[in-house]
């Protein structure tokens, strides 16, 4: 293969025009999951974000990376104007909630993405000790939404004529970054898991299901079916390590999408990690399960804008 052919193939891979629909599915799904999360945590706002919450003052700052935004900056900036901490916290959370609605409906999508990403980052920094995997993935993919044309389909921006839902190179590039990011994360996550004996001898699944924090059902019977637990561990490694290879060919893609969705639904149901399971299913479904070729898109849901 000559150099020019390789460059052309690379350019086609990254830049051949694609429908923005997969990106729109990601945008809507992510906004919905974060709205549900905000609703579930509504009674804990002051416990998690206030300076005299569960983790207080300087101790809370100890866990935050330096120079990253946090609510105490806003509180300090507004204190000369007699705005107290509680008002700052509830004000920020309200703006965050509004930005999620704008993001989900696709109204002023870029601005909404930027505001949502920044406020989400500020909130998870402020309550760093409480954050976990779902926050990490939300932060990563909210950052992508700022740059990719996620508002170019299934959005009020399109319905109002601010944007067109035609296939573009930007959509393809955005989709490729998301797809490759998922491949990297699954591959390296799988490799790290494979280093541990527990994933091979079936103990991992058994131990995870035994921990009180994840306890949903009585799974003690699993101790008498060790092969089942082993199979669970091996299947997880197989699908995670194989993701970067088998998610691409059409004939294995459906199997991998089904496997990954089944895996994360299992995590959601058996370990009670509902939002984490939901966001992981969404990422694979949006990145690899939504048609990207214009011809594969059967009926337009909204009329294209006349330019």
């Amino acid at each position: 293969m000559t150099r020019s052919v390789a460059i052309e193939k690379l350019q086609n891979f990254f830049l051949m025009p694609a429908s923005p629909r997969p990106l729109a599915v990601l945008r809507i799904g992510l906004a919905l999951i974060l709205i549900v999360q905000a609703f579930l945590l509504r009674n804990f706002v002051l416990d998690f974000f206030s300076q005299d919450g569960i983790i207080q003052g300087d101790l809370a700052n100890y866990f935050i990376s330096p120079y990253t935004p946090r609510l105490s900056w806003l509180v300090n900036a507004l204190s000369p104007f007699n705005v107290n901490e509680t008002a700052c916290i509830y004000g920020t959370c309200s703006v965050y909630g509004m930005s999620l609605i704008f993001l989900g409906t696709g109204l002023f999508t870029r601005t909404a993405s930027l505001v949502t990403w920044f406020l989400h980052w500020t909130l998870i920094n402020t309550s760093r000790t409480t954050s976990y995997g779902v926050d990490l993935y939300a932060h990563v993919f909210l950052f992508y939404l700022i740059w990719i044309p996620a508002g170019n389909a299934f959005s009020l921006d399109v319905a109002l004529g601010y944007r067109s839902d035609e296939a573009t190179s930007e959509a393809r590039l955005g989709l490729r970054i998301i797809q490759l990011h998922l491949c990297i994360s699954y591959f390296l996550s799988g490799l790290e898991k494979a280093r541990g004996d527990q994933w091979w001898n079936g103990e991992l699944l058994w131990r995870a299901l035994s921990l009180p924090v994840y306890h949903q059902f009585d799974m003690s019977w699993l101790a008498f079916w060790p092969l089942l637990s082993k199979l669970g561990g091996w299947t997880t490694l197989f699908f995670e390590i194989g993701y970067c290879l088998f998610i691409w060919p059409k004939f294995t893609r459906r199997i991998w999408i089904a496997g990954i969705v089944f895996l994360h639904l299992g995590i959601a149901v058996l370990l009670g990690l509902d939002l984490f399971g939901g966001i992981m299913c969404l990422l694979t479904l949006a990145a690899f399960g939504v048609p990207t070729k214009v011809s594969e898109v059967r009926k337009p849901m909204l009329c294209p804008v006349q330019s």
């Binding site: 830049l15 009674n43 569960i54 983790i55 207080q56 101790l59 409480t130 590039l173 898991k193």
Partner: protein, 185 residues
């Protein structure tokens, strides 16, 4: 998008993905000096520096904090931090998971040795952090229960047993790793 712009965005995307791979491999960028600091900050704000080793390489156990008071709540009543008073308002498992994550911030002995070059300093730093976390949680509980004048905080670890041990009749238990008592001045 113009061809020139395409190349620029593609280059930027590839650089970003390299940072994603480095972050997921836990490569310490701060070793690169000033450039490393800039890349580290970008990785933080974009999430490119995130690790993805959930449940990897294995599961050791679970930490919890338990409170005991000498008030009308009963001298031996365990005020489970996760499944007790705070969780009364917890509408969901989501909130309980997050409360559990706070408890995971307690350093255990093994973490102290890994986290600091000098084991002596490490142990001191770990003890200070344990004490600070315990007092932060105690202050929170005392605010919620003004009738409580004295409070003991126990950091406990749940060590799961293996499948073989379970079949032979062994059951997992909570063991106390650390305890400290607080009383109102």
């Amino acid at each position: 998008m113009s061809p020139y712009k395409n190349q620029v965005w593609m280059g930027f995307a590839l650089c970003h993905l390299v940072l994603v791979a480095l972050g997921a491999s836990y490569v310490d960028l701060s070793r690169l000096g000033s450039l490393g600091k800039v890349l580290g900050y970008y990785s933080e704000l974009s999430g490119a520096g995130s690790g993805y080793g959930f449940f990897a390489p294995g599961i050791s156990g679970q930490l919890r904090v338990r409170f005991e008071s000498n008030s009308q709540l009963g001298s031996n009543s365990g005020l489970g931090f996760i499944d007790g008073t705070v969780a009364e308002r917890a509408a969901s498992h989501e909130a309980i998971l997050r409360l559990g994550n706070i408890v995971d911030q307690f350093p255990t002995d093994g973490l102290g040795e890994d986290a600091y070059d000098d084991p002596e300093i490490g142990v001191d730093a770990d003890n200070r952090l344990k004490r600070s976390l315990a007092s932060s949680l105690a202050v929170n509980m005392l605010k919620r229960h003004p009738e409580v004048k004295q409070l003991a905080v126990y950091l406990e670890e749940f060590s799961p047993v293996s499948m073989e041990e379970f079949r032979s009749g062994l059951r997992p238990q909570w063991t106390i790793l650390y305890e400290v008592k607080f009383k109102e001045p």
